[in-house]
């Protein structure tokens, strides 16, 4: 695999072809905030928190670092006024759903996000997709998935599969940044009368 030289925040970084900007940055010890990224999972590009400025051949564009492939002579800026504005807005939009989420508190402070900028929303799922993707890609159980689209999108357990798989597994629980997952699971179990085994667990 060929080596690629790029610049991140003024530092020269060595990367291999096929890597993403996020991977290259992490290897070089440069921090870029993420929410929906997980090293065991395929890059998702959903939260957009990892948005960075990428300049190539004189053109600057904004890209998601977790998905953008490294290129020779790429100049990356992980912080700028624009990048910070975008990250702050993303955090504020997410805090309308989960203002107390642990994962968001430090970031909110760093970027000056106002947790009350937007009216509170009913659901505290922030759609990072970690639970769905982990269950599909790592456990291959497909016990939880997305349903619907847009603002009506939700995570939803498949009751029959959840009854068989989830209690013994629960590996996705620590991944959830807001505990919306645990809430969805508990609700599924509660309603899962016809699939519950007769003996106690």
């Amino acid at each position: 695999m060929s080596e690629i030289l790029l610049q991140i925040d003024g530092r020269e970084v060595r990367a291999k072809a096929g890597m993403t900007v996020l991977e290259a940055a992490q290897r070089a010890g440069i921090a870029i905030p993420t929410l929906c990224h997980h090293e065991k999972l395929e890059p998702y590009g959903g939260c957009r928190l990892c948005t960075v400025e990428a300049e190539v051949r004189g053109w600057t564009k904004l890209v998601a670092a977790c998905c953008y492939p490294v290129e020779s002579d790429l100049v990356v800026r992980t912080r700028s006024e624009k990048v910070d504005r975008i990250r702050r807005m993303i955090l504020e939009l997410l805090m309308a759903h989960a203002p107390d989420a642990f994962a968001l508190q430090d970031l909110a402070k760093e970027y000056g996000a106002d947790r009350d900028r937007f009216e509170k929303e009913a659901s505290f799922c922030i759609h990072c997709g970690l639970c769905v993707r982990y269950c599909a890609e790592v456990k291959k159980a497909n016990a939880v998935g997305f349903i619907d689209r847009g603002t009506r999108r939700e995570i939803c357990f498949v009751p029959e599969i959840a009854a068989k798989e989830c209690w013994q597994c629960k590996e996705c629980f620590p991944l959830c940044p807001t505990e919306a997952l645990q809430a969805a699971y508990v609700l599924t179990e509660a309603l899962n009368l016809k699939n519950r085994p007769l003996s106690s667990k």
Binding site: G45, G46, R48, P69, I86, R149, G150
Partner: protein, 641 residues
């Protein structure tokens, strides 16, 4: 039907078809596109068939059910060949007279086009001003062919471009010609087609795909429907030529399921082309194999986006993917995939047959060729218009479109669908082209042109599009799913009179995030309708927020209907038609609307006789108190009671 096994064979078959047709024999062509069918063309077609049988003319007169010629406002459309006499708004009752006129070589004067301004009649299709100012390279063929009969397409020269490509041009030469023509994608992106093909061709992967994007999700746009319904072979031929140039062996046609007739006709076309050896294995005996599958959409606007469409082709929910690596290199199943719009593909056979030079004589420096637009909304001549790029917007709207009906004033024309913006009157001399429209804050998009008049509220237009996009967003990324939803909330409040200072600034901040950080073009372009209406109609936003007033008198929560006592003649028409019985009044008693009961449906406003014009719409001002009951007697001049 026998297979055609060589270009020579093709020409032979073509000559045979033409020889069997007498050009002098009358042919009654009736548009059987979805629009005319909805206007009753089905009954008209049946009436023609019955009448011809009744008058025993089967041996002398043909009928042909054709594709959409675009003059949808005046459908059902009928054209009589060989003279090309055009009859409009034909009803079954008119049919016997038309058939007799055809027999006697006469014209039914009352059914031809009459210019509403000059009163001049236009008997021939080509003389009708709507058609005359167009350059109908693509859509002009529709009225001449029955899309369900491949012979009709062969009769007008179809598949000769494919024959030339397969036997007399190398893939590289085809690519060169398309690049030279400067054909840019007609689906909205305007990306140079030749460059896209080249990128796929150069990708090292041996498996490649070519795809027709017939999702046409922009509301108000139906050009692709007309092309695919009316002349499916032109798209098929273009697609096959593209496959040859790129090195693909399989193709897909992604058609929205809301177009059942287009789906039906393209499936028939594929079957007939395969039977004749013009598609499938060993096309025309050239050794080139290419098969096409039809894939129906299932009701998602986002699937018009190229990466979402490809995800849908893979049998998944249509969520877009990052396109940092072009889909031309990594597309369906990660193979190089060339996705182009229906109209883009349909241009290809013309470019091959007539040459890139011919194509480039139309259009501007950077926008070559013609473009089909769907001219709809507050416009006299609603329909599909094909014009050379570079034509002034003003000419499209007034010369071809016939201007605004009802004596109303033009306000704006929206282009580019939910990703586009509004062009106000001050910019009507704009030349229509990709870059010109982008510079004005809009975009070409797929070709929808929605005309709006003085009664259209521009703030509501922005709200409408954001409502649409909120519903259609896939929901994967935060800037779109959350950002656009917040924009919609703000606009919903503004049109209801609940806007506050600071709303515009917040909308602008949300716009920036969506434009810069969204995953796909749906999110990135979602703020455009808001930003362009804000740019050109800021005073409307400020009126809604600061004065709780809708200048266009359109937003329900901000208007009130009021019957002016001096003008009311107590005719009872509005009182009887009010669906909620909100109008008090009697035979000689001035009518008064109960504002508590009124649902603002506007019926009273519409039905009050023009000579009285007593109903007024108010906004941003208090409704005058109803005059006391004992003062409501109508004073009738000249009739003292």
């Amino acid at each position: 039907m026998p297979r055609i096994n060589s270009p020579e064979d093709l020409e032979k078959v073509r000559q045979e078809i033409l020889a069997a047709r007498d050009p002098g024999r009358p042919c009654i062509s009736i548009c059987a596109g979805t629009g005319c069918l909805a206007s009753g063309a089905g009954e008209v077609i049946a009436a023609f068939k019955a009448e011809i049988e009744k008058q025993d003319l089967q041996a002398e007169v043909n009928t042909r059910e054709t594709g959409c010629p675009g003059f949808c406002e005046r459908g059902p459309v009928v054209v009589i060949y060989p003279e090309e006499i055009c009859y409009l708004q034909v009803r079954p009752e008119d049919v016997p007279e038309i058939v007799s006129a055809v027999k006697e070589k006469k014209v039914v004067e009352r059914l031809v086009y009459v210019d509403p301004a000059t009163g001049e009649k236009a008997i021939l299709e080509a003389d009708i001003p709507f058609y005359k100012h167009q350059v109908r390279n693509l859509i002009g063929s529709n009225i001449r062919i029955d899309p369900k009969r491949i012979e009709d397409y062969l009769a007008i020269g179809g598949y000769s471009a494919l024959a030339r490509v397969l036997f007399r041009m190398s893939a590289g030469e085809v690519l060169s010609e398309v690049k030279k023509s400067n054909l840019r994608g007609r689906g909205g992106g305007g990306f140079p087609t030749g460059r896209k093909w080249e990128e796929s061709r150069n990708a090292p992967d041996p498996i490649k795909y070519v795809i027709v994007n017939a999702d046409e999700g922009d509301p108000g746009a139906f050009m692709d429907r007309a092309l695919l319904e009316g002349n499916p072979h032109s798209t098929l031929e273009g697609l096959t030529i593209g496959a040859y140039a790129v090195g693909a062996r399989e193709g897909y046609i992604y058609v929205r399921q809301e177009y059942p007739l287009a789906v039906e006709n393209v499936i028939i076309a594929i079957k007939q082309a395969e039977e004749r050896g013009l598609l499938g294995k060993d096309i025309l005996g050239s050794g080139f194999d290419f098969t096409v599958k039809v894939h129906k959409g299932a009701g998602a606007f986002v699937c018009g986006e190229s990466s979402a469409l490809m995800t849908a082709l893979e049998g998944r929910a249509g969520e877009p993917r990052p396109k940092y690596i072009h889909t031309a290199v990594k597309g369906v199943w990660d193979h190089p995939s060339v996705l182009n719009n229906v109209e883009t593909w349909a241009n290809v056979p013309l470019i091959i047959n007539k040459g890139a030079g011919w194509f480039m004589q139309f259009g501007t420096e950077r926008s070559k060729g013609t473009k089909i637009f769907s001219l709809v909304g507050k416009i006299t001549n609603t329909g599909l218009v094909e014009v050379p790029m570079g034509i002034a917007l003003r000419d499209v709207i007034y010369k071809i479109g016939g201007g605004i009906p009802g004596g109303k004033r033009f306000k704006a024309v929206q282009t580019g669908g939910p990703s586009g913006g509004c062009i106000p009157e001050s910019l009507l001399d704009l030349e229509v082209g990709f870059d010109e429209l982008s510079r004005a804050g809009s975009m070409m998009g797929s070709g929808g042109m929605i005309v709006m008049d003085e009664d259209t509220c521009m703030v509501d237009v922005a709200r409408y599009f954001l409502n649409f996009l909120t519903d259609e967003s896939c929901g994967k990324c935060v800037p779109c799913r959350e950002g656009i939803r917040q924009m919609l909330k703000l606009l919903d409040n503004i049109v209801k009179g609940k806007g506050k200072e600071g709303d515009i600034e917040l909308l602008e901040a949300l716009s920036e995030t969506a434009i810069d950080a969204s995953l796909c073009a749906l999110g990135k372009t979602a703020p455009n309708p808001f930003l362009s209406t804000l740019k050109y109609f800021r005073e409307e936003y400020e009126a809604h927020i600061r004065q709780k007033r809708c200048p266009a008198l359109s937003c329900k929560e901000l208007i009130a209907y009021h019957i002016e006592p001096e003008k009311c003649r107590a005719c009872m028409i509005c009182a009887k038609q009010c669906p909620v019985n909100a109008i008090a009044g009697g035979k000689n008693l001035i009518h008064v609307i109960d504002q508590e009961k009124c649902t603002k449906c506007g019926t009273c406003f519409e039905v009050c006789p023009a000579r009285f014009g007593a109903v007024r719409k108010l906004s941003g001002e208090p409704v005058p108190a109803p005059i006391p009951e004992d003062a409501r007697a109508v004073s009738r001049k000249g009739k003292e009671t």
